[in-house]
Symmetry: D2
Subunit: 484 residues, 4 copies
């Protein structure tokens, strides 16, 4: 079952704007800033008050909009866009968002970042009532729910009802010809923020870096359970539920978000640098130089170096010409791409005791390969320090790690991991260290400082619904005991 369900997960980025000329161009720029969140597909839907226009395709944004005329065809001053990270085999254009649904009573476009944990059951229930799904994505469920309720309730009440039916992590953007709607799940798993341009146009998007690129001023983070409606009369703030509790995905801070983004008051680079500093406090290693694994670990590495007082050096060089490993869809591509993209700098590491800072260990393959690389380049000792705790439990809220099979830390102790990857030592940041490094001011009294740290301790903030059974089966005897 987990294997089957796995395919549904996706990490993505969304961008919406209402009330600005060349909305398609702005959305293109916003999506460019979010490209790190998904490289498998991209799309934009705009509206000129009267009609909705769509263009989407597989591949990088620059490929999807290779012909600049495509942007010009997307008319209007309101738009939503999406970049998609999908898994192999289902990467057909039907699954690329925003989806555009045409109805005799008006069209609706939909873009989604997150993952629903009750998608399978909802889909079955809806199909039993006659629903015909056009994609493999769980995103589409929302529109079917809305259409189910719309006749008796009208659109907004139907939407609220529907948002209460879907469970898991979600940041939805909807575009209709006369409004832009944003909704965030009750835990705020995925980041979503709102900003405003000089002309008053509103922007809602996954990360603040997308506000910056279009010159929009940050207003605030969208809150769990919130429903924002933007139309000609401005911004209307509403809620579809009051039963909320902040549990932001800590992975956004650790490696997913861009370092210049600010999530719930915390600059991502700063959080990472603090992770490096706290890591140095928890695990001060005796070495000659500190190096980071480019690009996501450079902040943590400079923090580690600064804290421990060792030179921060460029011991690994990343080619600009391939994508990040984590996001490559197949194992074979992952392996080759490591070879092609990371190079050890002999002139820096030769004869040195090298402290390598990395953000996380998922499968362990990359770590093993870069340690081999550093040894071949003459490093005398290699000490890995990881600026997050061991990644032991899957994510069900929108990151593509939904089975334990591929998580190294789910199967090996730290000592075993150290041996497998071939390091001279291996140490991880603790969960309290992580929480302290992020130090989210919005946390209030939410557990774990307002973060989801279930990846490290198995304590999921919501029931797992359709995933529950498969997840339980994947646990060891010991883990099952501990988690109850």
């Amino acid at each position: 079952m987990p294997a089957e369900i796995k395919g549904l997960n996706e990490e993505c980025g969304v961008f919406g704007v209402f009330g600005a000329d060349h909305a398609s161009q702005l959305t293109y720029m916003g999506l460019h800033a979010l490209q790190h969140r998904g490289q498998e597909g991209a799309g934009i839907v705009t509206s000129n008050h009267e009609r909705l226009f769509q263009h989407r395709d597989r591949g990088l944004l620059s490929k999807v909009f290779a012909d600049p005329a495509e942007l010009d065809l997307l008319q209007g001053d309101r738009a939503i866009g999406h970049v998609r990270y999908g898994t192999a085999g289902r990467n057909s254009v039907e699954n690329v968002q925003p989806f555009l649904f045409r109805f005799h009573d008006g069209d609706t476009a939909l873009a989604h970042n997150g993952n629903l944990v009750n998608a399978v059951s909802l889909k079955r229930e809806l199909e039993d009532e006659g629903a015909v799904f056009q994609s493999d994505s769980d995103t589409e469920i929302l529109i079917h729910l809305i259409r189910h309720y719309i006749k008796e309730d009208g659109f907004i009440p139907a939407l609220k009802k529907s948002l209460n039916r879907v469970k898991g992590g979600f940041a939805f953007l909807l575009l209709q010809k006369d409004r832009l709607i944003a909704a965030l799940d009750p835990n705020g798993f995925r980041p979503l923020c709102i900003g405003q341009m000089d002309n008053g146009a509103y922007v809602v998007t996954s990360e603040t870096c997308a506000l910056d690129i279009v010159g929009a001023k940050f207003i605030r983070d969208v809150q769990p359970g919130e429903l924002l409606i933007i139309d000609q009369d401005g911004l209307h703030e509403d809620h579809y539920t009051e039963d909320t509790q902040l549990a932001v995905c800590s992975m956004e801070y650790i490696y997913f978000a861009r370092p210049d983004s600010i999530i719930h008051g915390v600059t991502v680079h700063t959080a990472r640098k603090r992770m490096g500093k706290l890591l140095a406090q928890e695990h001060p290693i005796d070495g000659d130089i500190v190096i980071g694994v480019p690009n996501s670990s450079l902040s943590a590495a400079s923090g580690y170096a600064e804290e421990i007082g060792l030179p921060y050096e460029m011991g690994l060089v990343k080619s600009q010409y391939v994508a990040r490993t984590f996001i490559q869809p197949t194992q074979e591509l992952r392996e080759r791409s490591v070879q092609m993209k990371l190079a050890a700098v002999r002139g820096v590491v030769e004869g040195k005791r090298v402290i390598v800072v990395d953000d996380s260990i998922v499968r362990g393959t990359t770590s093993k390969q870069l340690i081999q690389m550093l040894r071949r380049a003459g490093a005398k000792e290699i000490h890995m320090v990881i600026a997050s705790p061991p990644f032991k439990f899957p994510c069900f809220y929108g990151i593509d790690v939904s089975t334990r099979a591929e998580l190294m830390a789910a199967h090996y102790s730290v000592e075993e991991m150290c041996q497998i990857i071939g390091a001279d030592s291996l140490n991880f940041l603790s969960v309290p260290g992580l929480i302290k490094a992020i130090d989210m001011p919005d946390a209030g009294d939410a557990p774990y400082g307002g973060l989801t740290v279930a990846y490290f301790n198995g304590d999921y903030p919501t029931p797992l619904y359709d995933y529950e059974e498969g997840y339980r089966k994947s646990l060891s005897e010991q883990e099952r005991k501990e988690l109850i």
Copy 2:
């Protein structure tokens, strides 16, 4: 309203096979033989007993399957395919068939040739009940109807119910992992035939030329109201309605079908040659040579020449390198393509009294242009004879002429038409002449020899449903009187 509805029409070709190795390759060949029925898109869905595989895209078959690997990926011994003729603006891949719908209780693929006259009302009704449509095509309605009825009835009864709800012209092919289903509308507007390969595999397709190309033996035409189910146990013959009456689209004989196809017992080339002969009997013109407009009028022209005893010459040459005019989506493309594709043969027509045989006059643009061409090439006199009656009334059953606005004969008398196109004389075959030329053996006592001749006399064999109002408005006072 007619303008809005217009977009829904399509002429297409379908091909299905059950029980043959390399079903995708055979379907590719079958679709190649049907390519004249649609050049805007093509697709194939196959099944290997377990899963359904799909590939489809916009453009000619050779472009859609430019990479031969695509065919190999379509596994299994059963398949359906589709070539599509769509109109500009809606030519997105979502509208390319076969459609593939995935359900938790099994997948269904669907391909359709025809046009439903109650699509708009059905769609509205279904949407009101929560349906979400993924394409602009009326084809999709069938699957929504089926899913509406399936829970209480099971698939086949639900399908039968659904087939009784949709009105108009249709030849449907459905593929599920364990069966291939074919259904024809109660008037048999669109051709559909069944054949069998040497190994026993069944083939169902729009024209017999597609049977020939894969080496299948013709069994019989599918009959109005019939429902054929082909599975591991063979062919099961059934009906979803008994309320049927044969009214084959006469345009198939006049210009649409391939000359080597046999529809309801009549070889298309032979029918066309007889149209030419009867035309010569009805309108014997005094001239020096007889020429045809390539390619669809060559049979009629040779019939005219043979009957009247004049030399049959090649007075017009068609380039092999562009598609037929009728099927070009925009007016501008139509005009340019005429210039690029038809050339008068000066050495043949210079100084001659030329009798030009054409199959039909739709907008009149082509006729005008070819007469200009022949005059420039030195023809002394140009007499047009048309091997069908004046095309005055739209088709609502699957050919892309659903408004009267563009039909020359709807607005002008024959004399006026002659003057506008610049011919020295213009004559048409009569409706009785057409019926006599086709002389369908299957006709029984069906009106008009088992043909739809509404394009010429306005006598539609079915109510027009959603088109009724717009159609009525398009009629002149005089016509309205005559038709009542």
Copy 3:
């Protein structure tokens, strides 16, 4: 050796215009009319008095200029264009013409239809003097020769000298910023004609059908040994040699040229129809119907039918969606394409004694396949009649048949051929019949009525130079005796 040399051959089409707005668009239209002469590549070079602009690529014209903007970038009122028929393996863009050579003293573009028989020796000689060739084509030799002579002679004298050095069949077009130049080989193997547009602009091109498409009036055929220079002052007629004798490639009339083209006063369709009539006189067969192999044999078939008094029927249908067999580059493609493109019309041939008229037999594969097809469709008897003599000897002047290995008639008697292809009888037009059918008014006292008939009798009008040795070796004892 023949195998090695084989690759150099090409049949092509050229088009040039001087003094007309949108010269690139006109050239595009002209090349479209010549597309049957080559489908492997296409290109256009234009000039706006100051610069030369080039666009070329592999594939059909419509693909090469798929982006209409490409035509707009080709500025100026003068242009030359080329469609190319090349053989597999060397089909890289470097070989696509027109070639554009940039020199500090001015640029020259070059397009060529034909084949040089002393290309290998000339190339070696030039390389020994330091020449660096950029393509595999023999076309490039001309420019190297010109550059060799230019310093002491100036351009036109150097060109004349060079034209006297190259041997074989050639129709060259050259474009410089201030003039368009055309040159034809001393035997006029390849057709080349000159026409004039209403505004006075001159057009030089391979076939008159390309004059017609741009609305240019035919002036005359370019004569053997002629050198035409067109500049601001008009048309300058010159010769580079007086040692000429007309020997037009008879294959142009038999199957290569378009039926509406007029070559040396003879309309190609008319010549073919007469070949059919003379064939009927030489070989009157007892049958029920006469059918032609579309498209190149339809004229001959109607002539045969008219002469013998039998019905001319459409017994074979050709798909519009694939290219002609002869021109497919590999054997495998040739075989598959026959299957995909020709279909027998069962309703026409079933139970009939069918007389099939074809233009020629090259490898015999096509004939064999179409006879099988007709038998499967129920033909009772199949009598092949060929509207040209047996094709026994290679062409060295520009058609891609330069080895005997692939010529069926080079290896088998007519009786053997009949048996191999599976016909009930097989007959060919005689060489005198062919000459009489074409009946070229320009022939004067040139041997064979001004035609090259070496393909049928081995009597080549020129020495074979680099091909001599290989050709000699390919002859049988008997043939060698006969030819001396």
Copy 4:
């Protein structure tokens, strides 16, 4: 004249291997490591002892070899490859290297990094002797020279003679079926090194990072005036001239080479870090944080921070999804790409006195834009420090800056520059500081520590030949005086 000549310049990367299985795959990997040296085109030529195989096209390596089958078609154990940086307008495939020249006496492939300063005169001289050039590139001149001398001298002597005729900066790789040849200009402007794989195969390439990626061990830098011939018998070391003097392009250290490459004994990252340190010594600025402009200035920035004792922060984030500014071909693209690729990190710079370290200022546009960006992000003060001297004089040896028109420092004083770009202060590293930072051990007594620093002081190590006149004209009265 300068404008005309400008187009000839190119910065590129070359890679050659002899004696290793899958040479095409290795070359692909090597070129990937060199992709930063050119993104406009890429190509590979291989040989399998008998034939040479070529594939090349415009665009990034990953696009050119998008179809992995292309690599498989390039057979053999020896290969050369090239990545190209070309300027707009001439970016046609004819100019993409390696060039492959086919001769009756054997084929030669050629790849080149550098720029010849006497290309125009040599080309004219060769054309006057009959040469026909196929590209706009000056690279091709070498092969014409060789062919000019080859007949009387044989290949190697002809090559040596030719290498003495061409002037400027060049690193040539030549491939023939039985050998790989490398040659470096007499000043060693461009980097070129030689390495060896475990199986003994030799590799010659522009940077050591390309040795690392294929696992080859560094042997040594190729020396000025050297000619290396690698064949079945191993490596043969030779010289074509003894008149040499080391003058490595300092720009390679400053920004062009990859930080992990080692050029003449100096690791590029280390040199850059020392530039930053020396810059801090020369210009110690009072600030709160030090940031670098990613990616080429990060090493210098960390050196500056370390030396001055301020925190090194990530104040600017670079998107991974666009190419570096310097290398964009048009002004418009340059401007847009700056916006799309660099983002200021508000959380880092807000309210801070920021010291920004950049590697160089060419046009000044980028500096101006990033300062605006930092101000908008809330930086209190912005102090630019540049880790190289003011770039005042063009490069004629292979970097695409060959006119002074676009060099900001050629037209403005440092104070004026500071004002234009809007910084609070602006300071540059001195020439002696630069030389001291690089500190090349191979320099011997070569002037300027074995570097070319003409970009900063106008003291070119060679005569400028064809560029002399244009260059002189571009100087101000004052500069002319100073330089004499």
